[in-house]
Amino acid sequence: MKKSNTALLFLYPLLVFFSILTLVPFAWMICAAFKGNADFFNSLFLPQGDGFLGIAWHRLTFANFTKLFGELGMLRATMNSVFLASTTALLGTLGGAMGGYALAKFEFRGRKWMTRLVLAAMIIPGPLLMAPGYQMMYHLGLLDTYAGMLLPTIAPAFGIFLFRQSILNSVPMELIEAARIDGAGEVRIFATMVLPIIRPMIGAFLMITFLGTWNNFIGPQILFQSPEKFPLSVAINSLKGVYGQDYGMLMAGTLVSIAPILVLFLLLQKEFIAGLTAGSVKG
């Protein structure tokens, strides 16, 4: 026991050091978001002055944010991001749970092949489909539409795989059979019995998909052409071209894009991490 106590003595400074390295870019970004351009260059973090703690608090400003949401209409982009991420998460989770349920709890011809197909679909690299996908979206008339972004995501192979694992492990077959004998319909069984049991995986996959969609850049960058449809990732990056000198505003935009994710993560933290690791330990 003694030995581990001395080890802990070295451990804390080390961990604190790494924590600082990790947090500095965040701190820097947050400070920059509240500074004007002059202070951006004259001070690394908060501008120095004769205020409390030697910091010129009065020089901090919300101007960057008012400009983002007023003049530049970032509310629109924020809403687009929220819309895309939340609907993708809900649809993808539903489709994934449905597919996973079918593969886990039904005996039918072709089940083995379907499972293999899902696994195969998981490893097809996205970039390979970029060019022909664009061409196809053009022919389907889905370029520059929300549908073009949402439709391909309603039944993700990765989700089906995760839900299959989770249902195999946690939903007892007897429960389903008993319900069938009671005359419950298949949809009802799925919605009222299966889904509640796998709620940790539902939370996890919702968060995984929400995060993935929120941070997706390349997809909307290719698909969307009208700025009123841009999600935050694309909108903030396109500010860089026109407002490249407004460093404070760029960082304010980045902060606005990151903050909601952090909040949602705090709500779904446990499930999210469990879901992430579920694929690795059992896979």
């Binding site: 809403m79 809900l90 919605a191 052409q225 779904l268």
Partner: protein, 459 residues
């Protein structure tokens, strides 16, 4: 049912609520009105200058509303491409630069989405009144695809306060060699890199300035028949010279990028003595660095040889028209274009706001161009640029323009690496390697050109 709802955690319901709220927001918000003519621009100063006149136009022409939209250049380029090639929503009018134009005209002729303006320009006599070099970037195969917005002649801006304090007489400067020698005393390398000072804002990674200097020297990328000429002796000399500026004991260059806050900080701190300055950049400086007012002056660019060209050209914008617009509607758009580009009020307004001189030679007589400009120590800035406008070098537009810039830029980068690795820091010493690298760049460019089946057809 309520029991069932309680099965899911707070985070899950948060996502559901978000989905509902955002869907309502998105599906009830008004669609942007589509009958206005979309006008895409990438330059903020242009938009600022146009806004009052567009408002005036929209007030007088209710059936022909113009709706300007500011976009970053890469975004606009991507969207133009997507619009021309895949039919996504697109602008009716757009201001674009040479690189974008060159790309838009790189496919099969029938796929060029820009309207051919050649005949219209001739029949309305515009090809005579507009400064001839201004057409060259917008031409391909003898056809003109855009209405030139500008001339963009280039001068040299220098810190007159520092120069006068050091007792330097800039009239002694005729060539770049003179520039390095005469300005030499201003260099300050005291070992503290936060306070050092360099003579010229240029860097081996800056392909834009590289192109300016190549064109000034009479070099460039393509001959009149669009054959690549990267490997010319002039190009080799210019690249070797720039390499000696950027590294070694005789370094005079500093990397202070334009349109960048960090680059501007260097200029404000006086760490940059001189900058290669097109007319538009003068306007950008006035807006972004008011603190330099009265500390700057302009002079013609130093030449590459005695008696050589004292200017060059940097950047350039044209107004392009969507080919798919019906002729009748195009007529209206054309009227708007001339209203915007040829009116003396706009020319004066554009100059006051962004120091850009018009390509229309009839407008050069306007008194606004002779006004003393306090920012540049009361020099008649417009006149200085206009004096050089007829001497602006021609630029040929090729679909492979971008590749040519890239390959020659790489040659310069490699030459600087070579100079460092072998400790060679004279122009003569670097010339053989410079020729070799440009030769390689030329070969690469030829390969790129060979590959494009769409261009091969019409050879």
């Amino acid at each position: 049912m309520f029991e069932w709802l309680r099965n899911f955690s707070l985070g899950v319901w948060a996502i559901v609520v978000l989905a509902v709220v955002s869907s309502i927001f998105i599906f009830t918000r008004p669609e942007p009105s589509s009958n206005a003519h979309a006008f895409w621009l990438f330059a903020r100063p242009h938009l600022q200058a146009y806004e009052p006149l567009i408002a005036k136009w929209n007030g007088e022409q209710p059936e022909m509303q113009i709706k300007p939209l500011l976009l970053s250049l890469p975004a606009m380029e991507r969207r133009l491409f997507s619009g021309f090639m895949a039919g996504t929503p697109m602008a009716d009018l757009f201001e674009i630069t040479q690189i974008v134009t060159a790309r838009l005209i790189s496919g099969p002729v029938e796929d060029i989405g820009l309207r051919d303006l050649t005949d219209l320009l001739t029949s309305e006599g515009l090809s005579d009144t507009i400064n001839p070099p201004s057409f060259s970037p917008w031409m391909l195969r003898g056809r003109i695809y855009g209405l030139p917005h500008d001339v963009h002649p280039v001068l040299l801006a220098y810190r007159s306060d520092l120069v006068e304090e050091a007792g330097i007489d800039v009239t002694e400067i005729e060539t770049w060699e003179d520039f390095v020698r005469v300005m030499g005393p201003l260099k300050r390398l005291d070992g503290k890199s936060a306070e050092d000072r360099y003579l010229l804002n240029i860097w081996q990674t800056n392909t834009e300035v590289l192109q300016v200097l190549l064109l000034q020297a009479g070099g460039g990328f393509f001959d009149a028949n669009l054959r690549p000429v990267l490997d010319s002796e002039v190009n080799a000399m210019v690249i070797a010279t720039i390499a000696t500026w950027c590294t070694g004991p005789n370094r005079i260059a500093i990397d202070a990028p334009e349109l960048s806050a960090s680059g501007n900080a260097l200029k404000m701190r006086g760490q940059v003595v001189a900058t290669i300055m097109p007319d538009w950049l003068a306007g950008v400086w006035k807006n972004d660095m008011p603190g330099l007012s009265g500390k700057l002056k302009l002079m013609p660019l130093p030449a590459w040889t005695k008696g050589g060209r004292r200017t060059s050209v940097m950047g350039g914008t044209m107004l392009g028209f969507n080919r798919d617009v019906p002729d009748k509607v195009f007529k209206q758009q054309w009227e708007f274009a001339k209203f915007l580009y040829r009116s003396p009020e706009i020319a004066a307004e554009m100059f006051r706001r962004s120091t850009i001189i018009p390509p229309d030679r009839n407008l050069w007589k306007l008194p606004v161009f002779d006004e003393a400009d306090p920012y540049f120590s009361d020099q008649p800035v417009g006149r200085l640029f206009i004096e050089q406008a007829p001497n602006v070098p021609l630029r040929v537009s090729s679909p492979f323009f971008n590749a040519a810039i890239e390959h020659s830029g790489q040659a310069l980068l490699r030459l600087v690496e070579y100079a460092n690795a072998n400790d060679v820091h004279t122009i003569e010493g670097l010339l053989p390697k410079s020729r070799e690298l440009l030769d390689g760049a030329q070969q690469q460019l030829m390969r790129d050109m060979q590959r494009n089946v769409f261009m091969r057809e019409d050879e």
